[in-house]
């Protein structure tokens, strides 16, 4: 037994791993699959020493193992290829690949470095010069280099997190052939991927994670893609909240063939007044990119975004335009795009519409206090008052303040990217209730979420994106978790990505 994990637990804001058990033999390739947030990445992070577990035991080749840090994990023979690439742009391909153990005593032995690099690149069928700077590579090439870096070690256990997300089929096959060879030499591999066809072909055994637990495990030859998806989503049909499909109003947001440099395919969609429109999809499906394009954060290369008022069509070209015409966005990354750190709740809540607490550019403290107090009450923000620093608040309450910002502005269109990520359950339901209330007042709401349950509970319609493409749209009465998941996986299994 190479690796044995017993009762592994990890808790961030909410439990991520709840008593996970898993075994892996020497020379075996095992797959870990699951929906977003099932705990796959956290498991790999714990094994490779990036984060400690709360409890549970890990046994590596018969000896207890707890990685203190990534360096210790590497020395113990664990090598992680993570989703967030860890390459250094200003170093060459060879230097990046060899970074963990550069040859040479004092002077860098370039010849040896380049020779070793050349061998690895050849095996990947990758036509790159060893001295090319990594900063000049495209995404697929960078992922290959990252993989080469991972494989350039005498590891006994390889941890691969979505190693093929940017690769085309041919590149993925080359990778798989190499992994197979390593496995034959006794290396064990944990392989996390959304490309389920690949998983079933490559791996000996599949572990299905859901909500931080293993819900099913079986040898690959006993499984089909459909079965895996069924296990991932959970067999028991979830009781749908008894909300009838909302009769929505006229079209408010019209997007036609919208494309930016961050998007892979042009997208069109219509959203109505009084509708919550969901965007489902896997990590990297292009939901965030779409929302950012609608909001105008990235320049449009083609297509149109229009707001339809009674008799006018207003074309939106940039973010200032959007905010001016009543569009608000709650970004995915609260810390870097949402809050103003070190400043008060009041500052954060009113910044998008200071006109309502000022007359002729002069701020009125009294009007600000009244407005902020009303917002705090309406959203039930737990804080000492408007003067408190926003950093002192919990994640959920910070998120409420960002929502308050757009309530204060009285938006007609709200774009929300992962509105309840890192938010505790209580605040999550409060946010859902608030969004429903806004919907009932006629606001048009677009929500992107990795959490399918959230979209199913909240939305009147759900559009599914996969690998940058809009795959299909489901009306509330035809919501079907398995079909939605199937659609979300569809393009990842077949397309060749650039």
């Amino acid at each position: 037994m190479r690796l044995q994990i017993r009762n592994l637990r990890k808790h961030y804001a909410a439990p991520v791993l709840r008593g996970l058990n898993l075994q892996l033999d020497a020379g075996a390739i095992h797959a870990i699959v699951g929906e977003n947030g099932a705990g796959k990445t956290t498991l790999l992070k714990i094994l490779s020493g990036l984060t400690p577990a709360d409890s549970g035991t890990v046994v590596l080749d018969g000896a207890p193992w707890a990685a203190k840090n990534p360096k210790a994990a590497q020395r113990a023979g664990l090598s992680l290829c993570s989703q967030e690439l860890s390459l250094i742009d200003n170093l060459s391909v060879a230097e990046n690949i060899g970074l963990r153990a550069l040859p040479g005593r004092l002077r860098l032995d370039r010849a040896t470095l380049h020779r070793r690099c050349r061998e690895l690149l050849d095996r990947f069928q990758l036509d790159l010069a060893p001295d090319q700077l990594v900063g000049t590579l495209n995404l697929a090439e960078r992922q290959m280099v990252e993989l080469a870096k991972t494989l350039n070690s005498e590891a006994r256990l390889l941890l691969l997190d979505e190693p093929t997300s940017a690769l085309n089929d041919q590149q993925a096959r080359a990778l798989h052939a190499m992994l197979q060879k390593r496995a034959n030499n006794g290396v064990s591999i944990l392989y996390v991927s959304h490309r389920l066809n690949d998983v079933l072909q490559l791996c000996d055994h599949v572990w299905v994670l859901r909500d931080g637990e293993v819900v099913h495990n079986a040898p690959s030859e006993q499984l089909t893609v459909a079965e895996v998806i069924r296990h991932m989503s959970g067999k028991e049909k979830l009781a749908q909240p008894a909300i009838a499909a909302q009769r929505h109003g006229s079209v408010h947001l019209s997007v036609r063939n919208l494309l930016t440099r961050n998007m892979r395919q042009p997208v069109s969609l219509d959203c109505h007044r009084g509708e919550i429109f969901g965007l489902a999809g896997l990590m990297g499906a292009g939901r965030t990119e779409l929302l950012e394009a609608i909001y105008g954060l990235v320049a449009h290369t083609s297509g149109r975004v229009e707001l339809l008022h009674a008799d006018k069509r207003i074309g939106l070209t940039g973010v200032n335009d959007a905010v001016k015409h009543g569009v608000g966005m709650v970004p995915e990354s609260r810390a870097s795009q949402g809050i103003f750190r070190g400043l008060s709740v009041a500052f954060n809540a009113t910044i998008a519409q200071l006109g309502r607490v000022a007359s002729r550019h002069l701020l009125s403290r009294r009007r600000e206090a009244t407005a902020v107090d009303a917002l705090i009450r309406r959203l039930n923000v737990k804080c000492e008052g408007g003067d408190q620093s926003i950093e002192a608040l919990s994640g959920g309450n910070q998120q409420k303040v960002i929502l308050a910002r757009w309530l204060h502005r009285e938006c007609s269109l709200l774009l929300l990217d992962e509105p309840t990520r890192g938010v505790d359950v209580g605040a999550k339901f409060a946010i859902h209730d608030l969004l429903r209330a806004l919907r009932d007042q006629g606001v048009c709401i677009v929500v992107a979420s990795s959490e399918l349950q959230e979209l199913l509970a909240l939305c009147d319609r759900i559009a599914v994106m996969s690998a940058g493409r809009m795959i299909s749209t489901f009306e509330r009465d035809s919501f079907d978790q398995e079909k939605i998941l199937e659609a979300a996986f569809s393009a990842h299994n077949t397309t060749q990505m650039a």
Binding site: F340, G342, H361
Partner: protein
């Protein structure tokens, strides 16, 4: 220490420091705490005060303006040359301030719309403006005459000069703009988190552009004050002034990372530097040692500020 005391210190730390320094010199030197001494110190300050106000705006907005000293010299040079060409003082003053505005506009356009780092753009302006100042004055001091010196004649019953009072008004207005207007909020928002500001419908580029223009205008105005002080224009005026202004802003608790700072506290920072310089001179400390002390005070101010930020909830 009690929480309330910490809160109070948080707000008035800079003020308290200034008072402590004044008190120290009062004990160490005779006649330091006299209206004559203090007003004499204040009357030296208009130029530094004005550029410090501009610098504080720029720092809070997340930028930096290294060109203020050179822009001061260039504006002063324009004033001198304009007067020498036979124009009246008001016209010359206007030309000087306009020169500062143009320099600030160029900084702003390059820094925000061409997305060049503001540090580099204003470093370039530091060299270029100084060069222009030498060019248009032919590297000579240009005599202006006594007409302009009305600005620096102390008002008899107050012992303060119109120039200093003017700087004081600028401090008050700037403090008001930063704390009580929509534009002030925008500056703080952009300096704290430009991306979040953009998502809230604020234009970070435009905000930085305006702030750099303000800094340019104030440097131009400081050029006028400097000419008045000297009665002539010196193309070497304001050498190193940008660093004195940054030091004053930092002593006043302004963060070089943007988002945090206060105009009023920066002004107190100016006073601290001035009182230190004069007080040390009065107790007979040598010029080199004065510089050592000033350097220590700047670093000490930041250490205190850190300590405060860590402790105050």
């Amino acid at each position: 220490m009690s929480r309330r005391l910490l809160r109070w210190l948080d707000q008035y730390l800079v003020m308290v420091s200034l008072l402590v320094i004044i008190l120290t010199f009062t004990l160490a030197a005779e006649n330091f705490l006299s209206y004559g001494t203090l007003s004499a110190i204040l009357n030296q300050l208009p130029a530094l005060t004005l550029v410090t106000v501009g610098m504080t705006f720029v720092l809070i907005c997340g930028g930096i303006d290294l060109s203020v000293g050179s822009v001061l010299a260039l504006s002063a040079a324009v004033i001198g040359v304009t007067v020498a060409a036979g124009f009246s003082i008001p016209v010359a003053a206007l030309a000087g301030v306009a020169t500062g505005a143009v320099a600030g506009l160029v900084n702003g356009l390059l820094g925000s719309y061409l997305r060049l780092p503001v540090f580099i753009v204003t470093l370039g302006m530091l060299e270029a403006a100084r060069g222009f100042a030498y060019l248009i004055t032919d590297s000579q001091t240009v005599y202006i005459g006594s007409a302009i010196q009305g600005l620096v004649q102390p008002i008899p019953w107050l012992a303060l000069t119109p120039a200093f009072l003017c700087a004081l008004v600028v401090v008050a207005v700037a403090h008001f703009v930063l704390t009580a207007t929509v534009f002030g909020r925008h500056i703080i928002a952009v300096g704290t988190n430009p991306e979040a500001a953009r998502m809230s419908g604020i234009d970070p580029k435009l905000t930085l552009l305006i702030v750099l223009c303000i800094s340019g205008v104030l440097a131009g105005l400081a050029g006028l004050m400097n000419s008045a002080y000297l009665g002539s224009t010196d193309p070497n005026a304001g050498l190193g002034l940008e660093l004195a202004a940054i030091a004053a802003a930092v002593i006043g608790g302004t963060s070089l990372m943007g988002g945090r700072g206060s105009i009023f506290s920066a002004f107190i920072g100016v006073l601290i530097i001035a009182v230190l310089q004069n007080g040390l001179a009065q107790i007979g400390v040598s010029e080199p040692f004065k510089r050592v002390v000033t350097g220590v005070v700047i670093v000490l101010a930041v250490v205190l500020d850190r300590w405060r930020a860590d402790r105050v909830p």
